[in-house]
């Protein structure tokens, strides 16, 4: 057993923290709220220069070929800085799907571009009125002779206006898992984007498809296997999501505890009150536990062990931890924390949205529990 990072891993943390400290202050986070593109080009260039978009993409496709542990480091730092970059959808989800299901031609065309940061891909998964489950994918892919004709609506599509391609989950038949993955250019004829107004003001879009023709060659993987690929890639991606949530929680704790040491009421720092200090201690405990299970999931993945259940658990645990940490930190600021000028609210709102965005906790707990019980039977 060895729970230490290697020297290289520690350096990655340090250099990322330094770069984000320089290039991604709260002003940048604020400026991106409501921005059409949703991320600043110069920050994205810096992120790309450090190799992050290709961090886990194999070297053969221009990536660094590093593991999930490095990914955890990266996302924890991005979360701490609330960095508005399309890294998760493009480099974790889209690249993950391409690596897993893509043809050689598709990989060759897109992975190097994603790895260098030149191309940004996003995912069109969720639909208005529908759930996170496979049942929620209802938008039909009407079969044409040699392809699909897409009609319907997706929503909560991140960075859609800036994306070079969307990977769209479409329904190809009546069985729950008759789902295919198709790649579509969001600028293609028949597609209209409508910007959502989210609680953090990030760039999410409704994407309406009106008779959008897609050739079969733009499908990822075999017909009918879309949901299995997606499910696996999203579960694995939960390692990165968990790390982001933990970073966000840690960032909030830094602001909150610093303020609790300075702000005085009744002639003493408010951090001397247990009603303030103890919730911070509980949040720190939750964050420490969540961080451990996230690292364990990453280690399991990197060493070829089964990891999707650990990843799901890590994500659930990280959600609890980041929600608690940001809530407690927000509370420590009292009334001033309710004003826009104070940065803690940036963390508070993002932790909540992040937690709601990628799955329903009840369903995820159920998924884990079903597996656990079936192993006993």
């Amino acid at each position: 057993m060895d729970l230490d990072f290697t020297e290289e891993q520690k350096q990655l943390t340090q250099s990322l923290r330094r770069m984000l400290g320089d290039k991604c202050g709260a002003d940048v986070v604020r400026r991106m709220e409501g921005d059409e593109k949703g991320y600043p080009d110069d920050l994205w260039r810096e992120v790309a220069e450090m190799g992050l978009p290709g961090l886990t993409i194999s070297e053969q496709y221009g990536g660094l070929g590093l593991g999930a542990l490095e990914q955890v480091i990266a996302f924890e730092e991005l979360g701490r800085a609330l960095a508005p970059v399309p890294l998760f959808v493009s480099s974790v989800l889209a690249a993950g799907l391409l690596e897993r299901a893509g043809s050689e031609a598709q990989k060759g065309e897109w992975l190097p571009a994603i790895a260098s940061g030149e191309a940004v891909l996003s995912i069109a998964w969720l639909e208005p009125g529908n759930s996170f489950s496979e049942k929620g994918v209802q938008m039909s892919a009407g079969a044409t002779g040699d392809g699909y004709r897409l009609n319907g609506k997706k929503f909560m599509v991140q960075f859609a206006a800036a994306a070079d391609r969307l990977i769209v989950l479409v329904r190809s038949g009546p069985n729950p898992t008759d789902i295919d993955l198709v790649m579509v250019d969001p600028k293609a004829k028949g597609i209209t984007l409508k910007r959502h107004k989210t609680m953090v003001g990030d760039a999410q879009f409704e994407v309406a498809f009106d008779n959008v023709e897609v050739p079969a060659a733009d499908r990822l993987g075999a017909a009918g296997e879309g949901w299995a690929h997606w499910h696996h890639v999203l579960r694995t991606g939960m390692i990165a999501l968990a790390a982001w949530g933990i970073g966000c929680g840690e960032g909030a704790m830094t602001l909150g505890t610093d303020y609790a040491k300075e702000r005085e009421q009744f002639g003493v720092p408010i951090g001397s009150f247990q009603a303030i200090a103890h919730p911070f201690a509980d949040a720190a405990t939750l964050l420490a536990g969540a961080r451990m299970i996230t690292l364990e999931a990453a280690w399991a993945k990197d060493t070829g062990r089964p990891h999707t259940r650990l990843a799901t658990m890590a994500w659930l645990e990280a959600c609890d931890a980041s929600r608690t940490a940001t809530k407690v930190s927000q509370n420590a600021f009292g009334g001033i924390g309710f004003t826009r000028d104070i940065d803690i609210q940036l963390y508070f709102r993002r932790a909540r949205q992040h937690e709601l965005s990628w799955g329903n906790p009840d369903a995820l707990n159920e998924e884990v529990g079903t597996e656990v019980l079936s192993e006993l039977a």
């Binding site: 057993m1 060895d2 003493v268 299970i293 645990e317 707990n365 079903t370 019980l373």
Partner: protein, 388 residues
């Protein structure tokens, strides 16, 4: 980073587990609701002696003192295996007291006590708490007055577990009332059969015995003072920093979780399998996650090289374990429906009535060895730098 134990470590735990199961007479194992407990019956004493005979005590002690000079990870593995099987823990003697003597004891004390500890010939009671000194241990009052080549002790202790069968008492007394309160306390080793010592039972709500102890003119020679007079508070804190993982092994909640999952998987209510209910699956998922997080909290205590980090980690571990235990007991009982309140002595109790008992036992997990409020103070102060 590597979250797995090495092959040798796995093999050690397996071998220890087989040996433990072999030497334990029926009745030695407690139900898994207890935090392992200590040797309090002849069979349990014999078990500890056999454990010693197998070479399992003093694993991480230096070889010159009869130990094996092994990495502390082996103490952790042994403690976990003992706890998992519900056996008496070894951590009080070879851990807290033995390690304190190794670090702070005189040569003569080491020669006298260490072999007896290694062979499990003696049991210890720990006398820190008093009626007016619990969380605020530094305020303890039991008086020790200088008298010839020793000290004369008078006063009262409370919650001295094991005092009704232990041979030796490891206690703190106030020797220097004129000094600041944390600097006036001294650590003594006293024979429990001293005529000036009276031990009265205090019965706990989970069916155990702890004790109230009165000391009436108990003279203790200097040779039974540990380290420097006045330094006890520091020694005790130091011992805890190094031995915290032995106080809260995962074993009991691991067993409890496993037994409950088994119940969820096989029980029926209204003729329908409980496992088909969505809320049962959700609970199974939460238990699996909570248990794994607790296990990892324990590993981070073990892995912390810096004692300052270890202190914070072990406070976190204690909170995580005890709060998970409480949540688990609450949720399990609610899931069980009618009969959940049958005690573990009733043969019809669901899941052996363990949960009816566990919800009581968790009270002491939360309060004991420094209550969770005290742990939160430690984390807030030392971990987060808050002026609490």
């Amino acid at each position: 980073m590597d979250f797995d134990f090495s092959e040798e470590e796995h093999a050690f735990r397996k071998k220890a587990g087989e040996y433990i199961a072999k030497i334990a007479k029926p009745g030695v194992a407690y139900k898994p609701t207890f935090n392992s407990g200590y040797a309090d019956t002849p069979d349990r004493k014999q078990f500890m002696k056999d454990l010693a005979k197998g070479g399992y005590l003093g694993l991480s002690w230096p070889e010159e003192y009869g130990g094996k000079g092994m990495d502390p990870v082996y103490d952790y593995l042994l403690t976990e295996e003992l706890a998992y099987q519900g056996m008496p823990g070894s951590g009080k003697g070879v851990g807290i007291i033995g390690k304190t003597l190794l670090r702070r004891g005189s040569k003569e004390q080491q020669e006298r006590f260490l072999p007896q500890i290694l062979n499990a010939e003696i049991d210890w009671a720990i006398g820190y708490s008093e009626p007016d000194a619990g969380s605020d241990l530094g305020s303890l009052k039991l008086k020790a007055v200088r008298d010839g080549d020793g000290w004369r002790l008078n006063g009262q202790k409370r919650f001295s577990s094991s005092a009704h069968f232990a041979e030796w008492y490891f206690l703190m007394a106030r020797t220097h009332p004129d000094r600041p309160k944390h600097k006036g306390i001294t650590l003594f080793m006293v024979e429990m059969d001293h005529p000036g010592i009276q031990v009265n039972p205090m019965w706990t709500i989970d069916g155990h015995r702890t004790n109230e102890v009165f000391l009436d003119d108990v003279w203790v020679p200097d040779s039974q003072v540990v380290g420097e007079p006045g330094q006890a508070f520091y020694y005790v804190a130091e011992a805890l920093d190094f031995e915290r993982h032995v106080l809260f092994p995962l074993g009991p909640i691991q067993r409890l979780s496993e037994i409950f999952l088994e119940w969820l998987n096989t029980a029926t209510i209204d003729g329908e399998p409980v496992r088909d209910r969505p809320e049962a699956k959700r609970l199974a998922g939460k238990i699996a996650r909570g248990l794994e997080v607790c296990r990892l909290q324990g590993l981070s205590v073990l892995a912390a090289d810096d004692p300052k980090v270890a202190t914070i980690r072990s406070s976190m571990n204690k909170i995580a374990m005890s709060e998970f235990g409480r949540a688990l007991a609450d949720e399990a009982l609610e899931m069980m429906g009618p009969g959940a309140w049958l005690s573990d002595s009733d043969p019809d109790a669901p899941a052996g009535g363990l949960y009816a008992r566990a919800q009581i036992a968790v009270v002491i997990w939360i309060i004991g060895a420094g209550s969770n409020e005290i742990q939160r103070n430690i984390i807030a102060r030392r971990g987060l730098g808050l002026p609490v």
